[in-house]
Subunit: 369 residues, 2 copies
Amino acid sequence: MKYTITHTDGAARRGRLELPHGVVDTPHFMPVGTVASVKGIAPDDLHAMGAQIILGNTYHLMLRPGPEVVTEMGGLGSFMSWDRNVLTDSGGFQVYSLAHQRKITEEGAVFRSHIDGSKQELTPERAVQIQTQLGSDILMAFDECPPSQADRAYHEESMARTTRWEKRCKEEWLRQAGPGSLFGIVQGGLHQDLRARHAAEIAELDLPGTALGGFSVGEEPALMWEGVQHAAPLLPAHKPRYLMGVGTPEDLLRCAMAGIDIFDCVFPTRVARNGLLFTRQGRLQIKAARYARDPRPADDKCTCYTCRTFTRAYLRHLLAAQELLAFRLNSIHNLAFYLDLMTGLREAIEQGTARSYVTGMLDSFAAGE
Amino acid sequence: MKYTITHTDGAARRGRLELPHGVVDTPHFMPVGTVASVKGIAPDDLHAMGAQIILGNTYHLMLRPGPEVVTEMGGLGSFMSWDRNVLTDSGGFQVYSLAHQRKITEEGAVFRSHIDGSKQELTPERAVQIQTQLGSDILMAFDECPPSQADRAYHEESMARTTRWEKRCKEEWLRQAGPGSLFGIVQGGLHQDLRARHAAEIAELDLPGTALGGFSVGEEPALMWEGVQHAAPLLPAHKPRYLMGVGTPEDLLRCAMAGIDIFDCVFPTRVARNGLLFTRQGRLQIKAARYARDPRPADDKCTCYTCRTFTRAYLRHLLAAQELLAFRLNSIHNLAFYLDLMTGLREAIEQGTARSYVTGMLDSFAAGE
């Protein structure tokens, strides 16, 4: 892995991340392919929208189809016929949010599958082993993401354990010696001193990249932006910075301005399936009756397949009829919108106009139609 | 509309049907786009698989989004961004199979919408008016399709009324004077003398094409094949013959050999969503555990996007996880399989080898893997 920052504009960075399956231009948004599929989206759709890396979920894939099957089929990319890069999370987040009867000890997490109730275990070592089996280009360290209501004492205890876990992850990753790069994760919630302490501990591990975890877990957006603005500069400057599980178009713009390079979030695809479309003129609830005879595309500046081909009237009809095609077309548009937003931001950073690009976009979103 | 039979081989015919939105090469299979969408499939998928005409359902479209919206958006093809031909049924079949509290009188059918319970009416005149509003290239006459358990007396009464209805359809179609062609429908169940009588009555109307209705409504396949074999030659030889709502790959081959030119059926897409895939080596229940690590495409002779891109192992995983992409990929394959089957048959008819093509395919299906 090689990371080159080609331009900066304030705290924002324009970079080139060279990974085993090609270059990722940063800032970049990663579509989420939870169970070896970006919901409703095929690899050629991802190519058309310019995605250079997608995210896979270790928790889901370890349960179904299982890491051995994925390995046998040539790794996650080959299995799903995606020839560019894949980042996998460590599975930790889903253990806390999805699994049943979870128990956390120094060793790791024991839990029951939300699918069939089977007993499962994830340790730092196992999380790295599975991600190696999946053939990930970027592996994430196994951490704990404390719930948003956790008190300061719990954060301190959890952070210290997470640091010990990430050390074990690094050892296992060195032992595996695969082609993928391991990223560390910094926790600490909204406590700025804890974030600073944890950032220093994780920087100490000298891993190829760093992520911020534990943001966008229920706090107000303004608090999250403030937290990221404080935490991003604490991460090693010459390494890629990844903000996990964030967020809205506004979040991406603000946090990229704070120096974040990579994002992922289920938000654009999840809301697409409910008919919420992002446009340069703000959000569109496509099921509203006012679009029933609207001959315009969702966003007339968008060049995605959906906007090139279909009217709002048709998208509204498909959603009203709960047709399968609605989920795909809306998802294509929202993902293309996110990726285009990052393309525009990269160009603006190159030209030193990032601040006016972001202000212009935020104003345009807020102005509505 | 112009129909030219370029080759015959036994009772089988190879034709060119010239319609307002291009040529349809017959025998041809029409994918079913019930609610202005072939479930899970986009227009570029339909292009890629070589579809020249699709079917839309008048009953569904009159309820949602309503014919006025479709007209305002430029007709059904324009609404769904499909630039080739569209055939619409008359709505009759769904009135009998889906609607609530239906009442049939000489005037037509009164019923309640299965979506919102609203009171609706379909008469021969209204069915033609709606199909004209939808901008159909082929309109179907409004008929009654008696239930499979109906007795002979009911068939006779219903047939006579259907003939009167089809006359009224013709009058309304002439009054509308749109670019679409009206096809008559021959009923009569499995009673050969009734089929013959009704075929003569409908031929009398001298409409541009003729359909066989009331087959594949619960009878054994062999009885259906026998019925079609008897009835097809009773239809005007120089006009296109359409067998409504049929069927399996076997049905298509056998009935095309009996002289049928056009087919439609929800079967290939409906079963695709449950993981049944057709191949030249028979049927594949893709969710079977034996495919979990199968690196082969669904059908190694198929050139569809699904078979060019994905393994059985991946298709099995997608279906097991009930991922949206499963429904699309399986539907693309099954529709491509149907359309390819007809392409192969057209070439065989041109070469005078239709019988050996059909026998070879049927043997290959039956031999299994």
